[in-house]
C-alpha cells in the first residue's frame, strides 16, 4: 500500500532520490554525455598564461556579478554588442562566466573593441571616462605583480599549453596587464568578418549635409564630449586615439574627405580597414548602431570646426 512509505523513512528517502534524479538525468546528466554540449570553434585557443591570470582576477573580483558574457540572438542586442554568442566559443571556460545581471554592459565582444590604453585608463578611473559610471576603480591592480608559480599551477590544472618564456614574461607583469590581456581575448574566436557585413553605408558621393551648420556643431560638441573626448582629447588634440586636428589621417600625411570621417565613426576602424590606400590599425569602435546619421554628421562638423575648417 502506498501509504506505507510515510512510515518508512529510508524507503521514503530512496523514492524521493529517484524522483529527484529523473529530471536531473534528463536535463543535466544526459546532455553532458552528448557532443553538442561540448562544441569548440576552430579558431578558439586555450587561454595563454597571461590571459588566464587575467581571467583569475576577473573571477576573484567577482566581475561576473555585474557583467554578462553572452550576447543573446536579439536584434538590438546584436546591434549594441556585436555578433550573438555561439556555443563553441566557451570550450576553455572552466567554468562559464556568462553572469546573470547587467549592471554594467555585456563583455562577450569586448576583445579588440578598444585599444589596450583605453582599458588601462578605464580600470584605473571609470568615472574619468563616464562621470556617472558606478563601476569601482581598479587602480590598485597596477601595483600588484603576478606570481608566475601560481599561474603555472593554474595552467597545469587546466592542461593549457605554455612555454617557459611565457612564464618568464609574467614576473614583470602586473595584475592590470593580465586583466587587460583577458579583456582583449574575450569573444575573439568569432571572425570579425561577421561584423563587417553591417557596413551598409554607400560611400560614393557622400557629402556632409550639415557642414558649418551652427546647430549641428553644438550638437556635435555635446556628442563628442560624451563619446569621443576620452580618447581623442577635449579639443581633438589626441590622447589614446590619434589627434584630429593635425594634418594626419590614418597615419599618413594629408586630410581626407568628410565621408571618410563619417565612415570611421559609423563602422569603426578595425585593423585591415583600408581607405584611400591608408590602413587602419584598429582600436576605434563603431558607433553606427548607437548614433543616427545626422548625429554622426554633426560630430564631423564639430571636428571640422576644431580644425578651423
Amino acid at each position: 500500500m502506498a501509504g506505507e512509505i510515510y512510515k518508512k523513512p529510508v524507503m521514503f528517502a530512496i523514492i524521493s532520490a529517484a524522483v529527484i534524479l529523473i529530471g536531473t538525468i534528463v536535463t543535466m546528466f544526459a546532455p553532458m554525455m552528448m557532443s553538442h554540449m561540448h562544441p569548440k570553434l576552430e579558431n578558439l585557443q586555450p587561454f595563454t598564461a597571461l590571459q588566464l591570470a587575467g581571467r583569475d582576477i576577473y573571477q576573484r573580483e567577482g566581475c561576473n556579478n555585474c557583467h554578462t558574457q553572452t550576447v543573446r540572438p536579439l536584434r538590438t542586442e546584436v546591434m549594441r554588442y556585436g555578433e550573438y554568442s555561439k556555443a563553441g566559443e566557451y570550450a576553455y571556460d572552466f567554468p562559464f562566466l556568462w553572469g546573470s545581471k547587467r549592471t554594467g554592459p555585456d563583455l562577450a565582444r569586448i576583445g579588440g573593441k578598444y585599444p589596450d590604453a583605453w582599458h588601462y585608463r578605464h580600470f584605473e578611473d571609470p568615472r574619468g571616462f563616464y562621470p556617472k559610471s558606478n563601476m569601482p576603480s581598479y587602480e590598485w591592480l597596477k601595483d600588484r605583480m603576478l606570481d608566475a608559480e601560481d599561474i603555472q599551477r593554474h595552467m597545469d590544472a587546466l592542461n593549457f599549453p605554455y612555454t617557459s618564456e611565457n612564464l618568464a614574461e609574467l614576473s614583470e607583469k602586473t595584475e592590470m596587464d593580465a586583466i587587460v590581456a583577458y579583456m582583449q581575448v574575450i569573444g575573439t574566436s568569432i571572425s570579425s568578418k561577421a561584423d563587417k557585413q553591417k557596413k551598409r553605408v554607400d560611400m560614393e558621393e557622400m557629402t556632409n549635409p550639415l557642414a558649418k551648420d551652427p546647430e549641428a556643431i553644438a550638437l556635435g560638441k555635446e556628442l563628442f564630449e560624451e563619446n569621443c573626448s576620452m580618447c581623442h582629447g577635449d579639443n581633438g588634440e589626441g590622447d589614446i586615439g590619434p589627434s584630429l586636428i593635425d594634418d594626419m589621417f590614418l597615419y599618413a600625411k594629408g586630410d581626407l574627405a568628410d565621408k571618410h570621417y563619417f565612415n570611421i565613426i559609423y563602422n569603426g576602424a578595425d585593423e585591415g580597414t583600408v581607405m584611400e590606400g591608408r590602413a587602419a590599425k584598429g582600436g576605434m569602435p563603431p558607433y553606427g548602431e548607437e548614433l543616427q546619421k545626422d548625429e554622426i554628421w554633426s560630430i564631423v562638423s564639430f571636428i571640422r570646426s576644431l580644425q578651423g575648417k
Binding site: 536535463t27 567577482g62 556579478n65 572552466f94 562559464f96 556568462w98 556617472k132 548602431e289
Partner: protein
C-alpha cells in the same frame, strides 16, 4: 536535566547563530545597495561590490538560511518523532562546525576566493566542510527518524527528507573541480555544459534551500500556532511529489536565449509553468487551513506572518514561471527585475516564515510567552513595507532597463547608450536602499524581541531551578 533540554539549547544556539549571520548579510546587503548608486562606497580590495555581493548572498543563504534550517529542522524532528535527537552531542558539534565554516566562508569571500558559480562560490576546502556539515545533519535526521516513537511521518518530515537528499546531490555535483592550490580550483565542467550544471544547481538551491525546508516549517508551525489542522492531507501529498519531481527540470530557464541547446531551454520552460501547480497546492492548503478562522489574522500575531509568507510564495511562483517565458525573458532578463524577484522570495516568504517559526520556538523552549506581541507586529509591518518597496522599485526599473536596451530610433539605430540607461536606474536604486533600511529596522525589532524573550526565559529558568 533531560536530553530535550540539551537539544533545545542546540536548537536555540542555531537560531541565535543564524540571526547573527543574518545581521552580517543584511548589513552587507545595505552596503552593496548603496554601492550601486554611490561607487565611493567601494573600498578596495576587500570591500568592492564584486566581493561583497557574494558575502551578502552566502551569509544569508548559508548563514541565516541554512543555519535556521538546521536548528528549526532539529526542533521539528524532535516533536514529530516524539523523541530527542539520536546524536545530541553530534548536533552540538554540528553547531560549532557550522559557525566555524560560515566564518571561514565569509573571510574567504572577502579575500576573493571565488569559484564564480552563483550560490556555490566557496572554494574546494570549504566545499568539503559543507559536505561534512550536511552528512552530520543527514546522520542525525535519519538516525532520529529510524528510532522515532511516532509511526506516521508528518508532511514536514517529507520535506526535510527531500531537502537532505536533494541538496547533497546538487551541492556535490556542481562543486566538482580540479584544485590548483589550496585557495583556487577550476570547475570540472566547461562552457555550455558548465552553464547547464550550474543552473541545474542554482535553481534547485532555491528549490531545496528556500522552498522545501521552509515549507516543512510552514506545514508544522501554521497548524501549531493557529490550532487549526492542515486543510487537505491529500493535497499535501500531491503537492509534495509533484514539486520534488518538477523542480529538477527547470534550471535552464535561467539560460533562455544563451547558446545552451534550445531543447533544454524549452523543456525547462515547460516544467517551470507546470511548477505553478504544486506551489499553489501549498498556497491553497495554507489559505484553506486558516479559512475557518480568518479573524486570527487580527487576533493571532503569528498567523499573519505565515499567511503573508505563503502569499508571497504564491506570488513568487507565478512571477518566476512568467519570467521564464521567452517573450518575458527577452525583456527583463539581466535587469534589476531579477534581484527584485529573488528578494520577494527571500524577504517576503523565507524571512517571514523563518522569523515566525523562531517566535514560536523560543518561548516554547523556555515555557514562556513572547516578550512583546506589539514589537512583533511592528516588526511585521516594517519588513512587509520594506520588502514591497524593494520588490516594486526593482520591477519598475527592471522593465525600464529592458525597454531602454531595446528602444530604437525611427532609422533603426539604438536610442539609448548603455550609460544613458544606467543613469535612469539611480533613483530606483536609492529607493531600494530606503526599502532595505526599513526592512532592516523591522529585523532589529525582531532581534530585540527574541533577545528579550530569551532573557525573560533564562530568568524564569534560573528561578525554577532554585525552586523559587
Amino acid at each position: 536535566m533531560n536530553t530535550y533540554h540539551y537539544d533545545n539549547q542546540t536548537v536555540k544556539s542555531f537560531i541565535i547563530s543564524s540571526i547573527f549571520w543574518g545581521v552580517v548579510g543584511i548589513v552587507v546587503g545595505l552596503w552593496i545597495s548603496i554601492q550601486m548608486w554611490a561607487p565611493s562606497w567601494n573600498v578596495a580590495p576587500f570591500f568592492t561590490f564584486g566581493r561583497l555581493r557574494v558575502v551578502h548572498t552566502n551569509s544569508l543563504a548559508f548563514g541565516l538560511g541554512v543555519g535556521a534550517i538546521f536548528g528549526i529542522s532539529y526542533y521539528i524532528l524532535m516533536r514529530l518523532t516524539k523523541r530527542p535527537l539520536l546524536f545530541p552531542r553530534l548536533a552540538r558539534f554540528h553547531l560549532y562546525l557550522f559557525n566555524a565554516a560560515i566564518a571561514l566562508a565569509a573571510l574567504s569571500l572577502f579575500a576573493g576566493m571565488n569559484q564564480s558559480l552563483e550560490y556555490a562560490e566557496l572554494e574546494w576546502p570549504l566545499d568539503i566542510g559543507v559536505v561534512i556539515l550536511w552528512v552530520i545533519f543527514a546522520v542525525n535526521v535519519f538516525g532520529t527518524l529510524v528510532k522515532r516513537k511516532e509511526e506516521q511521518m508528518y508532511i514536514s518530515l517529507w520535506y526535510i527528507i527531500a531537502t537532505v537528499v536533494a541538496v547533497a546531490v546538487l551541492y556535490i555535483v556542481n562543486n566538482l573541480s580540479v584544485p590548483a592550490g589550496l585557495f583556487k580550483s577550476y570547475s570540472m565542467f566547461a562552457g555550455v555544459n558548465s552553464a547547464n550544471v550550474q543552473w541545474w544547481y542554482g535553481h534547485n538551491a532555491v528549490g531545496f534551500v528556500f522552498t522545501t525546508p521552509i515549507l516543512a516549517m510552514f506545514y508544522y508551525f501554521l497548524p501549531k500556532s493557529t490550532g487549526l489542522p492542515i486543510y487537505s492531507h491529500r493535497l499535501s501529498i500531491v503537492a509534495f511529489w509533484s514539486l520534488v519531481f518538477a523542480y529538477l527540470w527547470t534550471g535552464a530557464h535561467h539560460l533562455v536565449y544563451t547558446p545552451l541547446p534550445d531543447w533544454i531551454q524549452t523543456l525547462a520552460i515547460v516544467f517551470t509553468i507546470f511548477l505553478i501547480a504544486p506551489s499553489w497546492g501549498s498556497v491553497i492548503n495554507g489559505f484553506y487551513t486558516v479559512a475557518p478562522e480568518w479573524e486570527q489574522m487580527r487576533t493571532n500575531y503569528l498567523t499573519k506572518f505565515f499567511i503573508l509568507g505563503i502569499t508571497f510564495y504564491g506570488l513568487q511562483t507565478v512571477q518566476g514561471p512568467t519570467q521564464g517565458l521567452r517573450v518575458v525573458s527577452q525583456l527583463i532578463h539581466y535587469t534589476d527585475w531579477v534581484p527584485g524577484h529573488v528578494h520577494m522570495g527571500t524577504l517576503g516568504w523565507v524571512t517571514m516564515t523563518v522569523t515566525a517559526s523562531m517566535y514560536y520556538i523560543i518561548p516554547k523552549i523556555y515555557d514562556t510567552e513572547i516578550y512583546s506581541v506589539k514589537v512583533a507586529n511592528t516588526h511585521f509591518y516594517l519588513v512587509l513595507v520594506g520588502q514591497l518597496i524593494f520588490s516594486i522599485t526593482m520591477w519598475i526599473t527592471g522593465i525600464q532597463q529592458g525597454a531602454l536596451w531595446k528602444a530604437v530610433n525611427p532609422d533603426g539605430t539604438l536610442q539609448y547608450s548603455f550609460m544613458e540607461g544606467l543613469i535612469k536606474n539611480y533613483p530606483f536604486w536609492q529607493m531600494r536602499t530606503a526599502g532595505g533600511v526599513i526592512f532592516t529596522i523591522g529585523m532589529l525589532y525582531f532581534i530585540y524581541n527574541i533577545f528579550m524573550t530569551i532573557r525573560k526565559g533564562s530568568a524564569l529558568e534560573a528561578s525554577t531551578a532554585k525552586g523559587v
